[in-house]
């Protein structure tokens, strides 16, 4: 075990995946000599050479589209989209090709592609550098979508994503790139929790917070914050957004009867809507209060000086918790 940042854990995961399977290739803008703008691929070109760590022309459709061709030739490309907001030029290739080729070919073609996306906000960045596009992918049959929230998960899930014969959109909470945690580099994938399972990050009995990515930490903070008040919150790190581990979620909600769903993305038709709808369908008779969504507003990502009024934080999650517990107005807000 060693303490690694989430970024370094992904680097370690990529290194391991490339060492294990020479058909694994990395593609992206500035991922070679520079090691990526977040240094996630640092040192990989030096180690594996420019034939396997490929600095591509500046064109996202081109990156994903050529990765499709490489996959058809038997490679397992891991492509990096430089920032979340730059994935849209590749949207057609992702939605119409990556997601559909297996189906189109009656299963004869496999698309073992990983699309890595430094993801979401809270880092004071310029426009288009703080987007949360996950709902678009979650709504697209044929894709798997995952989001790691700890270095250990990042390391293991990256390797699992590379090993998967399905295309995986791999969301990397960029706000956590520098957050550290223990990583077991020798973890056997066979022993690790499967990619599609959620993780109960904290057990509790009074209400459930379902979230993913950087907000998992915030949810855990919320659980800690209300401990004194005698409240016990369960926190679920969804990990996989498609498929969603609704079994774990439903079990928790059946226990607590109350649920807050949190994400940074805009609310309308976001992933939170799916979670709330699914919970309502599955746990209707166990729900003691309407599920509460704590999300980004239905606005374009605002200028960074104002992002704290968009991205849910501890206070907004607590406010959501108060709502499902019918205690709004009771809390003393200390800033």
């Amino acid at each position: 075990m060693s303490a690694l940042t989430l970024g370094a854990a992904i680097n370690a995961g990529l290194t391991r995946a490339m060492a294990d399977d020479e058909r694994v290739l990395l593609m992206g803008e500035d991922i070679g000599k520079l090691g990526g703008v977040f240094r996630v691929t640092d040192g990989l070109q030096a180690r594996f050479g420019p034939q396997r760590v490929i600095d591509t022309p500046l064109a996202e459709a081109g990156i994903v589209g050529t990765a499709v061709g490489l996959a058809l030739r038997g490679y397992r490309p891991v492509v990096e989209i430089q920032f979340d907001g730059f994935v849209y030029p590749a949207f057609d290739q992702i939605v119409c090709q990556v997601a559909k080729l297996h189906y189109r070919s009656n299963g004869r073609i496999r698309m073992p592609l990983v699309i890595r996306i430094p993801w979401a906000g809270g880092v004071g960045a310029a426009e288009h550098h703080s987007e949360s596009p996950e709902a678009y992918f979650v709504h697209t049959p044929g894709l798997r979508v995952v989001a790691a929230s700890t270095p250990q998960d990042a390391y293991v899930m990256l390797r699992q994503a590379v090993a998967s014969d399905d295309p995986v959109v791999f969301l990397e909470p960029k706000r956590l790139y520098h957050s550290k945690g223990e990583v077991d580099p020798d973890a056997d994938l066979a022993d690790a929790p499967p990619l599609h399972l959620a993780r109960v990050a904290r057990e509790g009995t009074d209400a459930t917070i379902v979230t993913y990515g950087a907000l998992v930490g915030t949810a855990l903070d919320a659980a800690l914050a209300v401990e004194d008040e005698g409240l016990s919150l369960e926190v679920i790190d969804l990990r996989s957004l498609s498929p969603m581990d609704l079994t774990t979620v439903a079990a928790s909600v059946r226990k607590t009867g109350r649920v807050v769903v949190a994400h940074e993305a805009a609310r309308q038709a976001g992933v939170g809507a799916e979670i709330v709808a699914s919970i309502t369908e599955r746990c209707f008779h166990h729900l003691e209060a309407p599920p509460e969504r704590v999300t980004g507003h239905d606005i374009p990502y605002p200028p960074s000086k104002l992002e704290k009024h968009h991205v849910p934080d501890l206070d907004r999650i607590l406010y959501g918790v108060d709502k499902v517990l019918d205690r709004t107005g009771e809390r003393e807000v200390v800033l």
């Binding site: 061709g69 058809l72 290739q93 073609i109």
Partner: protein, 402 residues
């Protein structure tokens, strides 16, 4: 001081004899300027050609060497595949008219470029066709009776890409050009001499994807050949909407040599393709071929071309028919006689009959198969949806819904 200023309306012709050196970069330095004016964009005779419309053979020092070795057997095979392609196409149209197929995009008039380029391929090469490349797929070995079912609504794609090294037909215009380029980058990494081929139309050249494919292919010197079948129309839009200057002139700006050939001359198509493939196999990188041809039929069986083009234009192109032209040539050369032609006609009839019976026999697969192959690995959510749907279906008393 000299400096680079390029104007659009000129290409720089290189001596045709330089073509087969397989190194256009070297060849070009001996070029002489080509001063024809911009209007030649529409000049369908501004092409490399070996057979004239009447079937007479013309010399082209650049292309000739690439077909000198074609045996009578190979020539007959080219002819046969063109005839079979036309018959498949005619049958496709007929089957659609009779309600056996949902749709058919006719390739009539484009048999030479499709069959000619495909015959130049090695088995290890991989083609990325559009929806109209019936002749390419037939020549690659797709079983016609399976192939047509992709147009009946039974399957999205009805052949096994692994057995014929051909991707499923692509409907998203231009998308396959990137797949071909990526595949070529893979072949390159494998140290193989396999070449990828992207087929697309004139309209496709407007798409960002096709241009990005040229950027990537050039940047990585990928062994890919872009075959643009300029059939003069993108549904109702004449090629002039997409390009004011010849499409072949676009690739060089990306660092990709290009050649504009008579797409109705199967010998020119074989020759140009062999040249391009050879360049690729030797590490010369990508090549772009513009095959000037014509879509004789409607865009698809749903289209009504009388709304946007004259029968005059169609008739003029009928005189350039690729099969008639080649037949005339082969007969003159003594390679083809009445009896051989009768054999081919019989084979075509047999193919048509088989295709027709396959359509009539076709049964729709079971409802639950709509859930298959969404993912390669198990997916709990989808499994539940499937179970739910089967439960729902089971509630029906008859199986009429199936």
């Amino acid at each position: 001081m000299t400096y680079t200023q390029t104007t659009p309306d000129r290409g720089s012709a290189v001596p045709a004899s330089a073509v087969h050196e397989g190194d256009a970069a070297t060849a070009s330095s001996h070029g002489t300027p080509d001063d024809r004016s911009a209007s030649r964009a529409g000049d369908i005779d501004d092409v490399a050609r070996l057979l004239q419309a009447d079937g007479s053979r013309v010399a082209d020092a650049g292309l000739d060497p690439w077909i000198v070795d074609l045996s009578p057997h190979q020539l007959r095979a080219l002819h046969r595949d063109m005839v079979l392609t036309r018959r498949l196409d005619t049958e496709g149209v007929a089957l659609q008219r009779q309600g056996q197929l949902a749709l058919w995009p006719p390739c009539r008039g484009q048999e030479a470029v499709q069959v000619g380029t495909a015959h130049a391929l090695a088995p290890g090469d991989f083609v990325f066709p559009s929806y109209r490349e019936h002749g390419v797929l037939l020549a690659r070995g797709a079983k016609p009776e399976a192939y047509v079912l992709a147009w009946s609504g039974e399957e999205h794609s009805a052949y096994d890409h692994t057995t014929i090294n051909a991707a499923p037909p692509q409907i998203i215009i231009g998308a396959q050009s990137l797949h071909a380029t990526g595949w070529a980058m893979g072949a390159q990494r494998d140290g193989a001499t396999d070449v990828a081929v992207a087929y697309f139309g004139d309209g496709a050249t407007s798409q960002g994807d096709v241009n990005e494919a040229m950027v990537f292919a050039s940047s990585f010197a990928a062994p890919v050949v872009f075959v643009c079948s300029n059939n003069q129309w993108a549904i109702s839009e004449p090629v002039a909407v997409q390009a004011k200057y010849p499409i072949a002139g676009r690739a060089p700006g990306f660092g990709i040599p290009s050649l504009r050939i008579d797409g109705n001359d199967v010998l020119a198509c074989v020759a140009a393709m062999r040249w391009a493939l050879d360049r690729a196999r030797r590490g010369g990188g990508p090549t772009f071929l513009e095959a000037v041809t014509y879509r004789m039929g409607p865009h698809t069986t749903s289209d009504d071309p009388t709304r946007y083009r004259t029968s005059d234009e169609v008739e003029r192109w009928a005189e350039r028919d690729p099969i008639a032209r080649f037949e005339a040539y082969l007969r003159a050369e003594g390679v083809l006689d009445d009896s051989a032609l009768a054999d081919v006609a019989a084979a075509a009839d047999a193919l048509a009959a088989e295709v027709r019976s396959a359509c009539v026999r076709a049964t729709t697969r079971a409802p639950e198969t709509v859930f298959d192959h969404v993912y390669a690995e198990p997916h709990a959510g989808l499994a539940t949806q499937k179970a739910d749907y089967l439960g729902y279906l089971a509630g029906f008393e008859t199986d009429d819904l199936r």
